[in-house]
């Protein structure tokens, strides 16, 4: 029987959650025995090669590309997991949510003290993904099946949750591994 497939994505995140995934240390050898990695920044596979058992999503949605990517994952993954605070509540990028988008862009490209921008324009090339009015948690865009909090979620949390999902066992997570920071 073919091994189940795992896919990962980093949306509006910092790749810290992916670093934490690598932090499972030598258990990564066991993980490779358990699963095949499909579409993921880890192996740079761009398109799904088949049905995915578990998709791990780091980061929330700050632009249309994030939304399309997340929807693409939802269509192709049996189980979709919000990994980390940004996927769960927007995280650091969501700090802009209380400030109007125009003010954010003006500060970043026109008025900021270190800005050098002779054109005096805010980037608007059609090849750039359109930025959203605010940063959305993943579960406010598509249905998410599980949420693993943390900034980043600890390697132990990711490992224990992943193994439970792959072996179809209940997630019996100890108190110490659930943290929101």
């Amino acid at each position: 029987m073919a091994k189940p497939k795992i896919a990962t994505a980093s949306l509006a995140g910092c790749f810290g959650c992916h670093m934490s995934l690598l932090d499972i240390d030598d258990r990564i050898l066991k993980l490779v025995e358990l699963v095949d990695f499909d579409k993921s920044p880890v192996d740079d596979i761009k398109k799904f090669t088949g049905r995915i058992t578990v998709g791990l999503i780091e980061g929330g949605c700050c632009n249309e590309e994030n939304v399309h990517n997340l929807q693409y994952f939802r269509e192709n993954c049996d189980i979709l997991v919000s990994l980390g605070e940004c996927a769960i509540m927007g995280g650091i990028p969501a700090m802009r949510n209380t400030i109007p988008l125009k003010e954010c862009l003006d500060e970043a490209y026109l008025n900021g003290p270190t800005v050098y921008n002779p054109s005096g324009k805010i980037p608007g090339d059609k090849d750039l993904p359109l930025i959203l009015d605010k940063v959305y948690p993943c579960h406010e865009v598509v249905k998410m099946d599980y949420h693993l909090p943390g900034c980043p979620p600890s390697a132990d949390l990711i490992w224990q949750a992943l193994v439970a999902l792959l072996e179809n066992k209940p997630m019996d997570l100890p108190y110490e591994v659930i943290k929101y920071d």
């Binding site: 919000s82 605070e85 769960i88 509540m89 927007g90 995280g91 650091i92 969501a94 700090m95 949510n97 209380t98 400030i99 605010k134 948690p137 579960h139 406010e140 599980y146 949420h147 693993l148 909090p149 900034c151 108190y175 110490e176 659930i178 943290k179 929101y180 920071d181």
Partner: protein, 238 residues
């Protein structure tokens, strides 16, 4: 001692002295009832409702309801756990609670309740309302993003500090903590040693210059759930 009141919480017999609330008697007996606005040094207030228990099948706030002879109290039921979780989740989406960079993280009672109740993500949509930060005072700052309106600062300032620095203004979603001054926190007679500062359960009122003083892993709720100190009393009594 014939003036003792006896009642049960989840089938465990609890003794109380007349005038004690359910929560006070439970605390002494080593039975932890989750709470946010209640504080051992403050008068019962009953605003957060996290301590809701069923008393003879009716919901009551354990922090305000006096213990009485023979009452039948339920606390750790699935229904009540769900109600408490819902309340905590609503607080998480109503404010802007960024645990990853909050100085109070690890020592925060709201966060610790989330941990204890097993909250992985709030089920309600985030509101992302705009709130102010008042950093005018040289030693203290108040971040309204993190305020849960428990009124511990209001009550501590009045009851313990004898000052009346804090008060609520506004109603509903516009309700917030305000100061007894025409301008800002710096113009009040608040002091960094006030109990009102110490008793804030979240990172809303913080002392400047402290930062992330305790390393991750050694903070109050890193390895022990909130309420463990109260539950330990039961263990030592046996």
């Amino acid at each position: 001692m014939s003036d003792k009141i006896k009642f049960t919480i989840d089938g465990v017999e609890i003794e109380a002295t007349p005038g004690q609330t359910i929560m006070q008697a439970a605390d002494e007996a080593g039975v932890y009832i989750p709470r946010l606005c209640a504080h051992k040094d403050l008068l019962p207030f009953g605003s957060c409702r996290v301590c809701t228990v069923m008393v003879n099948d009716r919901p009551q706030a354990a922090c305000t309801q006096p213990a009485s002879q023979g009452m039948y109290v339920e606390s750790e039921t699935e229904e009540l756990r769900q109600i408490r979780t819902n309340l905590v989740e609503m607080l998480f989406v109503e404010g802007n609670h960024y645990c990853p960079f909050c100085e109070k993280s690890g020592n925060c009672e709201l966060q610790a309740l989330g941990y204890r109740l097993g909250m992985l993500a709030p089920k309600y949509p985030y509101m992302f309302n705009k709130h102010d930060v008042d950093a005018s005072h040289p030693d203290i700052y108040i971040d309204h993003n993190r305020c849960i309106l428990c009124a511990r600062c209001v009550r501590s300032s009045k009851e313990l500090d004898g000052k009346n620095v804090f008060q609520f203004v506004g109603r509903g979603i516009h309700k917030k903590i305000a100061f007894n001054s025409d301008t800002n926190l710096a113009a009040t007679n608040v002091s960094v040693t006030d109990k009102a500062i110490e008793n804030c359960p979240v990172g809303a009122i913080l002392t400047k210059g402290v930062g992330y003083a305790v390393p991750i892993g050694k903070r109050m709720y890193d390895s022990q759930p909130i309420g463990s100190d109260i539950e330990a009393r039961k263990a030592t009594e046996k």
